[in-house]
């Protein structure tokens, strides 16, 4: 069971009370009061690690991939998305107008809320809190390790039956490093399996802290050419590749995930280079390489956030084409002696 919080400890460190619990105190300690920002908790996820899992989406990212399908994950602070189509109009409702701290913060056109007139969206949180239709949607809630774990542990019986557990995703799941590590530790204390989805773009010390609590890592490799990597994601790839070596050297099981974007990183040249790197520099020590299709997802979220969609001119190939291409790429990479698969559904080898 989840431990109770000792308010007096200030940091909110947790322990079982009573004498009998003393023996377990080392095993059961984690900082339930530590706070972080999460933009979604998705129960019953089955494509992000073994079994039935709960994915906790950590807000904030250090990359700016032009194909990102979770634009709401990029900024660390809470944001408000606006869906004018869902607004039933200020004539019939108007709850937000009553809750707004200053009248000019909401942009209303033809009696519908269409945008925010501020670069500090958090001041409009009270409006979202009263909106009955979901026209104003909040992404990013400041929460604690304890609150997140309460939600995660509600599906314990399903993890037990399926061998599942907690997966951290993002954004960059380790961008709020202390919070993320504490969640992983909490999961281990509670006996849950842990997976981390990460782009590896951070200092090596972050990895050092997380590694002891990581049962499986999903690591993104977006491009082997550092210049192209910088063009598509905003950062160079040297530190990412170093971290990948480090994580593999630690003995942690690693699955490589590559979003295959045609004409960007989805080229024979890049994928061969990736395979070669994995064989030559990593010793092929990854359990699987998943090639994921790129589809234009998240367009409506970009619009809700008032952000331009970077790939708007990109024409995604039809399903039969990308399915064929990805299968071919997987076969090509497998020829290097790697376990490359199409999509995220294949069983991860034990």
């Amino acid at each position: 069971m989840f431990c109770e919080v000792h308010e007096a400890s200030g940091t909110g460190s947790a322990a079982l009370s009573g004498e009998a619990a003393q023996n377990h105190i080392m095993m059961t300690e984690y900082d339930t009061g530590l706070t972080g920002t999460v933009f979604d908790i998705q129960r019953f996820s089955v494509h992000d690690g073994p079994g039935i899992r709960t994915v906790v989406f950590i807000k904030g990212c250090s990359l700016r991939c032009i194909w990102c399908s979770n634009p709401e994950s990029i900024k660390r602070r809470p944001q408000i998305g606006i869906y004018p189509d869902r607004c039933i109009g200020t004539g019939k409702c108007g709850e937000c107008l009553e809750a707004v701290p200053a009248a000019d913060l909401l942009i209303v056109k033809e009696r519908k809320v269409v945008g925010l007139n501020t670069d500090r969206p958090e001041v409009c949180l009270p409006c979202a809190a009263v909106c009955p239709t979901g026209a104003l949607k909040v992404w990013g809630e400041k929460t604690t390790v304890g609150e997140v774990m309460t939600e995660v542990l509600s599906d314990r019986q399903f993890y037990e039956e399926s061998g599942g557990g907690l997966t951290l995703s993002g954004g960059e799941s380790l961008i709020q490093a202390r919070f993320a590590v504490e969640l992983l530790k909490a999961a281990h204390v509670e006996g849950l399996n842990t997976c981390v989805e990460t782009a590896l773009n951070y200092d090596a010390e972050v990895l050092d802290k997380a590694l002891p609590y990581m049962d499986l890592a999903y690591c993104d490799l977006k491009h082997m050419d550092s210049g192209a990597h910088k063009r598509f994601t905003g950062v160079a790839n040297e530190r990412i590749l170093e971290n990948l070596k480090k994580i593999v050297d630690s003995g942690t099981r690693v699955v490589i995930r590559i979003p295959v974007v045609p004409g960007h990183n989805g080229t024979e040249e890049n994928l061969r280079a990736t395979a070669k790197f994995l064989v030559d520099d990593i010793g092929g020590n990854v359990v699987q390489i998943q090639l994921l299709p790129f589809r234009k997802l998240g367009v409506e979220k970009y619009a809700a956030l008032g952000m331009p969609y970077p790939m708007k001119d990109f024409e995604a190939p039809p399903r039969d084409v990308w399915e064929r291409d990805i299968r071919q790429f997987a076969a090509m990479m497998s020829a290097y002696g790697l376990n490359a698969v199409a999509g995220s559904g294949a069983r991860i080898p034990k």
Binding site: H47, G51, I52
Partner: protein, 820 residues
Amino acid sequence: MGQIGYEEDSWGVGVSGVVNDPSPFPRINRLRDWYLDECPCTIDAERAVLLTEAYKKFENEPQLIKVARALAHVMRNVTLHIVDGQLLVGDSAAPPKSCPIYPEFSYSWIANELSEFPPRERPNNRYDYNDDTERQLLEITDYWQGKTVSDSILDRMTPEEMKGDFMGIMLYSTSLYHIAGVGHLVPDFDTLLKNGYGGLQQDVQDRLNALTGDDPDTEEQRHFYHAQLITLDATIDYIRRYAALAREKANTAGGQRRDELLRMADNIESISTNPPETFWQAYQLVHFAWSIIQIESNGHSVSWGRLDQTLYPFFLKDLAQGTASREFMQEVIECHAPLCASFMKLRDWVTTQANSGRGLGTMTVTLGGVDADGNDASNELSGMFIDMVAHTRLGYPWTAARFHENTPEWFSAKVAKAMRMGTGEPKIFSDQVIIPTMKLRGISDEDAHNYAIVGCVELSVPGREYGWHDSAYFSIARVLELAINDGYAIGHEDKGRLGPATGNLEDFQFFEEVQKAYEEQMAYWVETQARSTDIMDDVHREMKPLPYLSLLIEGCTETGKDVNTGAAPYNFTGPQATGVASTADSLAVIKQLVFEEKKVSAGELMDAIKSDWEGFDALYHLVNSDKMHQYGNDDDYADELAIYATDVYCDKVEGRPNPRGGIYQPGVYTVSANVPFGMVQAASPDGRKAHEPLSDCIGPVHTYVGSHDRKGPTAVIKSASKLHQQRMSNGTLLNLRFCPSSLCGESGVKNLVSLATAYFRKGMHMQINVLGRELLEDAYQHPEKYRGLMVRVAGYSAQWSDLSDELRRDIMTRTEMSFD
């Protein structure tokens, strides 16, 4: 068309029955095409005409003798059929895919529809018939006027019992047994397989001979045994007529079919009196036994019980002696699917709209589970029946798999692979929860371990229980409506106050007063419903004894009493609560908005629902939003109210005595009754508009503007697990829907099994729908393209193209439980 194979890993995910040639046996694929394509569904007059002749001729005989002679007259004279290529025979006293008519139960609606809204002109579920059939059916109308079971029930009901029933505001509906037979049982096949009809006949004769005395009770027993002997004689003759027909057909058939027909004739001849020797004979005998129950009465959900146990000794013996190969026995099992599917039941147009479907209904085969000692009982045959599901995809016979803590992985995986095809079969049940629940109702340990599924959901002891499992549907959502509206039904104020005067929501100062009113209304309406049901029980006992069925239910022959008198060891009456989540979410809105947050006044909320939310847009969206506590999200606030709402119902129902010496037991599921019950109810506080369906079974609320469950299937399962299902001994059902991608691959199977196993710690029964949104949209637009698509409509399997528009829309608004 989906690309599928015969082996379990290639059965496909979400392709349902939209496939060609799913069976490795060409014979089965031909029979499947015959069923799906070749002839239209029809109505047949022969049973009705023969039965009427007999009723006229034997009018002055005691009721037991009259009904026995009538059944015998039908069986001796009705035309028989053997479908080309079939290995099994036995019709419904009508041609395959044709509805026999049962005028003794109810007739005025048939006569009315024939004249006013002919079944051959229906927009869906249409039945063809020629003018001659129409004339024959109209000719007997006068004879049956005032003579049916339904007429007598109506005569005896007072206005008080009618006002809440389907002839009134339909707070509850007892319509099923009001207009038709009872069914909902598993016959004792084991004794029949052991002794044969000859053995049964000897037993009855011996008991008749042993009777002495001439007091009225003994005289009644004498009538009963006479009646049994009349039906047994007719049964043996009836079976022999099939043997003769097979020989006759063999004369004109060629090659292999000729030999097959001759073997069938020998088999049939032999089992007309003798116990069966082979698997094929045993299966044929079981089918005869079942089909004659259906000729005697049109009660549905007469189920097959645990055929993987019943037939296993014959399977082993055939293998050991080399009398049949596994492949041949598989073929026999698969032949049963099109045969079962071709049994049809004519329902009135209103019921058809609500239940949608032609099939006789829920003749379920139960597979797996534990034996009397608690050990796993699954065997090779259990797997072969699952193969049958995948190889036929016709929805018949229905299949149910029992899961327990030691269910072997091969079996649960195979079941999951069949489930993910998306035909709605098999449904799965939890031994862990069900066995203790049955024992709580006084069922012995051994019998509880041997339970089987009857109907969509219900649990029954094979051969030892007459459970009246589907006695009524009962809307607890409507009970709440009357509880906040001083006993008046919204929109029916002209009918006056219908329930006790428990006050208006505006009068209440505390939420507890709402609860008190709900409890008072519940007590009144449960009792009124039970009185209606008891009247039906009395009438069935007096007017429609079942001497043939009584041969196959323990206790009847032994005591010389008909099954309707309470001769079976176990006698229950099971009404089902409808609208659990609608009630829970309504209570949550009242509690949260009116009494706690005081955001809305009681008057405002009542105005909103009385005006169908017109002019209350913001409130309508608010109550449908995630700002409310709602059942299905693992939110204790709302889940506690769902527990409360169902506990009050169970409190009033459980233990009430019934006329057969048994008790009432509550069930909590809707099948598809949530649609018609929603159709007759005004808007409700949960955010439901007038006429919109109530919530399905024990699942969450889905309204036009959104589904109230937002956290996926694990949260729904957690919420449903909190209900006190161990009290709901007539059964519960949780429907979950998945999109195909979520169930693909090895991990999809494992996750589905894990989900079920986790639910089965506290939950009884789960079914799944597997459909992609894309497929569903297209299927909605073009139902004709999806002739083989089967959808589980809350415990009721039907073909997509036979579903009503309303029901199709209801399915489409359910959440897609995507894994992605």
